[in-house]
Symmetry: C2
Subunit: 646 residues, 2 copies
């Protein structure tokens, strides 16, 4: 079926039946985009994530060599869509599990989780619905000889009829276009108004009533993952969500490496281009899927660590990695989104939540906001585990925070079968009465890997089932399921079956996970030491992060990630960064509260803290060197062991 002389090739995608024509030489990923087939492409088409696998059923493609496909896959006609170049007419099958909806489950259930926490949608009950950018439908009477009020004042009068704004502002370009817009619209128009202090700025004016069409994009700008939600500002509901990997990953797994790279290669512009591109891609995907024009998206709010926000806005990030570790800005005023290259309404605004400092970013402030750490009567702990592990300990009168470089192990990075929470991700691992391990996947389909909650469970289960000892080393108990793999010994969690490989946990995976949890626990310990806090005094522990749909709190205590407090005091809050940012974009009260929280938090620099390395070393055990700190775990392990002994 090869047609080497044809310059345009037809590509048919199965099972959707969508088809397109592309120039010969285009990539399959381009063809898919053109056909409206959404493929998971978490590296943005750079060929390193290996997630955009498709099967070429008929026709020819050019594919460069890659280590991301096994020989078996290659034999089966599987290619990376981003790397495969179209040489002829093609019939391609998109494996169901690789279509883009893999990403949607997590973000959707996040939205639900916060619905439960805050009544309905975040912000709605706790704070009044009062968004930064609102649309006001204005019905004005046209001027006549008895009413010669200027167009601009007529507009202001109509705005002020809807709310009190002592001072008003208008963008100059809008002022120039105003007479034309109002006359053509018969003085029936909608104003886009942004509020700051007692100043209301008319940002845009559109003919007719478009007040119902007012959306915001809420973005969690993670080092590894970028998540975007679409929020209807009129009804305060979440409409859709989408996630992607941060394509800056090309330049380093953590942001310190990325800053170094950018400095060495003069690549801060490129860093901005990448992350802005990722955000734009998410916005575009959601907008297309929902049939919403970009003009209806009037604001974007972002939360993320300080380096990511600096990259996003191309603020000087260099001193984030160099003493005295000073950001360009913690608080950043709302700017025009277009100034940062973000494509929404061309006059729409971009607001980034404020950060505490170089190592405690606005994602943590968002978490403190959504868990209402400021409204505590006793002591509360907030922990966000992403690429780094940030901890906030809040008393009635104070708030301390710290950051540990936990590494992105619980996000699945650096873990052989780590993956995002999506169909086929093992999200739950339990130990049966007989010491056998059981698992459950998202969507109950065939297992493809482990997401954060599954990894945590697996670590706890392997400890309880005596697969590993308290140092994390494989024991001889299940020697039949341990084999030597390319990275050293590995434990087979799910044996291979026809059509799929085994899912394993390597010795290196276990060590990685233990280091991650030890970093977080040591940070908690230092803050508790500094404030004289005992575990018993903790009223609540909120755990945020991309673990998946849920987190087993017993597992978290078992491995020594969290202090040993009763399970009912531990709450998994999912992506708190998104949830807090959503609150802030829905309510200026919440936005002001976030700014207050950022100002109130005291940052503790763990790297300069004399006790931190000790605490970290001691935490590099399961659950801890000092097992007496974890009485419930001690009891549980004793029980399991005795059970196994029988």
């Amino acid at each position: 079926m090869t047609q080497p002389d044809t310059t345009t090739c037809r590509v048919l995608f199965e099972p959707s039946g969508l088809k397109t024509e592309v120039p010969r030489g285009a990539t399959l990923l381009d063809a898919a985009r053109r056909a409206g087939v959404y493929l998971t492409s978490i590296c943005g088409g750079d060929g390193y994530c290996g997630k955009c696998k498709v099967v070429v059923n008929e026709g020819d493609v050019d594919t460069p060599p890659t280590t991301l496909l096994s020989q078996k896959e290659t034999r089966e006609g599987i290619v990376l869509a981003c790397q495969a170049k179209v040489r002829s007419d093609l019939v391609v099958t998109v494996p169901k599990s690789h279509a883009l909806d893999t990403a949607r489950i997590v973000v959707d259930s996040d939205a639900h989780r916060f619905s439960e926490m805050t009544g309905e949608e975040p912000g709605r009950d706790l704070f009044a619905l009062d968004p930064l950018v609102r649309k006001l439908h204005l019905t004005m009477s046209p001027p006549n000889e008895q009413d010669q009020l200027a167009d601009h004042e007529r507009l202001y009068l109509a705005v002020r009829r809807q709310f009190d704004a002592p001072h008003m502002q208008t963008g100059f370009r809008i002022l120039q276009q105003l007479p034309d817009i109002l006359q053509k619209a018969g003085y029936d128009a909608t104003a886009l108004v942004a509020l700051r202090g007692d100043v209301a700025e008319v940002v845009d004016v559109e003919p007719g009533d478009t007040a119902g069409c007012n959306y915001a994009i809420v973005v969690d700008v993670g080092t590894t993952t970028v998540v975007a939600h679409l929020v209807d500002l009129t009804s305060a509901t979440t409409i859709d969500a989408e996630a992607t990997y941060n394509t800056q990953m090309h330049f380093g797994d953590d942001y310190i490496r990325r800053i170094m790279y950018a400095e060495e290669h003069d690549a801060f512009d490129e860093m901005q281009r990448r992350i802005v591109g990722d955000v734009n891609d998410l916005i575009q995907t959601i907008a297309v899927r929902q049939g919403i024009g970009l003009g209806c998206i009037t604001s974007v709010i972002c939360a993320g660590n300080t380096a990511m926000i600096h990259f996003l806005l191309n603020l000087d990030a260099r001193r984030i990695r160099k003493s005295p570790y000073v950001p360009a800005a913690g608080w950043i005023p709302p700017i025009r989104a277009a100034e940062a290259g973000i494509r929404i309404n061309k006059r729409g605004l971009l607001y980034c939540l404020p950060a505490v400092g170089a190592y405690v970013g606005s994602d943590i402030v968002a978490g403190a906001l959504v868990t209402r750490l400021d409204a505590t009567d006793g002591l509360k702990l907030f922990i966000d585990i992403g690429t780094n592990g940030e901890v906030v300990l809040a008393g009635e009168e104070w708030m301390m925070c710290a950051s540990s470089s936990a590494g992105p192990a619980f996000e699945g990075a650096g873990i052989r079968h780590g993956m995002r929470a999506g169909p086929g991700a093992i999200e739950r691992v339990t130990v049966g009465d007989d010491g056998s391990l059981h698992w459950r996947t998202v969507g109950d389909g065939p297992p493809r890997g482990l997401c954060g909650s599954g990894l945590l469970d697996a670590l706890a289960a392997m400890l309880q089932a005596d697969v590993i000892d308290r140092t994390g080393r494989f024991t001889d108990t299940h020697a039949d399921r341990i084999a030597e793999g390319p990275d050293g010994p590995e434990f087979t969690l799910v044996p291979a079956e026809a059509g799929r490989d085994a899912i394993v946990m390597t010795q290196a995976d276990v060590a990685n996970l233990i280091r991650s949890k030890a970093g977080v626990y040591a940070a908690i310990e230092i803050l508790m030491q500094m404030t004289g806090t005992e575990s018993d005094a903790l009223e609540a522990i909120y755990v945020a992060g991309g673990f998946g749909n849920y987190l087993d709190v017993t597992s978290a205590v078992t491995v020594g990630l969290l202090p040993d407090v009763p399970a009912e005091r531990i709450h998994f809050v999912g992506n708190a960064s998104i949830a807090g940012a959503k609150m802030a974009i829905l309510s200026r009260q919440a936005m002001a509260k976030a700014e207050e929280l950022a100002n109130r938090m005291t940052y503790v620099d763990l790297m300069n803290h004399p006790g931190y390395m000790d605490a970290f070393t001691q935490a590099n055990f399961l659950p801890h060197t000092d097992v007496a700190r974890f009485p419930s775990v001690q009891a549980r392990l004793a029980g399991t062991t005795s059970q196994q002994d029988r």
Copy 2:
């Protein structure tokens, strides 16, 4: 001395001795600019003002035919510098009276006049010195490991140490540059802060202490004349001033004609280019003369009629001339001056004072501000005579305003020997006891023409000396000095002498001046009728306009321009537009007061007022058809007549 083959020619200007080289074919005006010789060029080099006359002593120029030079002048080697093209090396003499300083006298004495009125400089005593844009010198301690505050927050903290700003904003570009600026400056920097409501916006940050270098340009954007003052915002003093003709004059004498022209020729951009160019030329001239960099000029404030402000900002001016006569905007927020093309500090602001409506502009609001019409216990009248004549009548509880198309006769336009107030301008004409006419020029030099105050005096004197009768027609009394000229009969005010022509008043000039004054008087009459005001009740009459250094109030009453009230109640206030705008740029309180005044004034549309035409017709006499309204004039004329009868 002709060198036809040379492509570059040397031009020497006498008496300054300044010289330059220009390409053959360049105009003498270009050569003068290049040599640093400032010539009066009120039409901007378009060859219709006839003011840039120079004498070519040696060498050849090409000159097109012009009616602006007499045969005698041509014989003497006089050419229009803007029209004369250089053909060879030249020696040129610039007549002293034609150098640019002709413009300076008026503006300088305006500054003095307001110094007298308001104590020192306008704004200083009445309102607190609190400019829209201020510079704050900030001495910050550089960050260290004990003080990791972000640069942006460090800046805000330093700003807030100097004054309370509940909300702050920062321009995005400044935010991006901030770390670099602060580090290079060792955290010793100056912030440019613009204030609006309770929001303070950091507009720019400069290294070191530049707080002493903060200037504003105050512009009166007139239909005929554009005047600019340079004000030091630190000391609230006026440093310099400059004036030029509005080069839009090319497209019509009044703004209605210019709007029509722009509509017909799609020339609104060109209109903006012209007026912005005029303003930029004034700024440039002043800045060069004072050795001040444009970067130190941080704001521009403009006042002018509504059409001029619309032209300046390229706002839709079309409905100013069409029912229902609605401007795009009366109130316009401060914008970045660069957005309108005005060249000052690239982040500097432009604020235009608010207008009342299509026909009562911000120049009138400025006048109401500077004469404190809002602070009246009784009744006050404000009259601004420029190209139009606007009138404001203010009571304790109300303010009425109206506009009459007076025409620019008192600005010298359409008057044979009318000119701006400058050296050689006849500013004063009196009648001697013997009925003879006497005159005095600005600078006491040889007479060159008549400025506004001279024209008003001349009209009054000619009436008193029986040169004209109460209808304005020439009588036979001084038939020896009346001759037939190109425009009909003309009265020789100053006979010709060796080296200069006679200065005359033509029958058409007289009719023109009477029409102008009648329009203004009729407007006053209608407002007084509508409010039931009697002349006796007027506590004060403020007269503004470009009459010159002063105005003889007796003459103004004699010709019937103003109601017959005791002379001590009439105050000539010169360019009130500049003075009010200066107040506003020096004090945000004054700016807020101007906005309040614009809102409070009620506009009366004279064109739709049934009594206006009648009132106008009756006022087309000297002083008025109903001479009983002017008892002091009646008495004076009777006295003069009886004197002449002797």
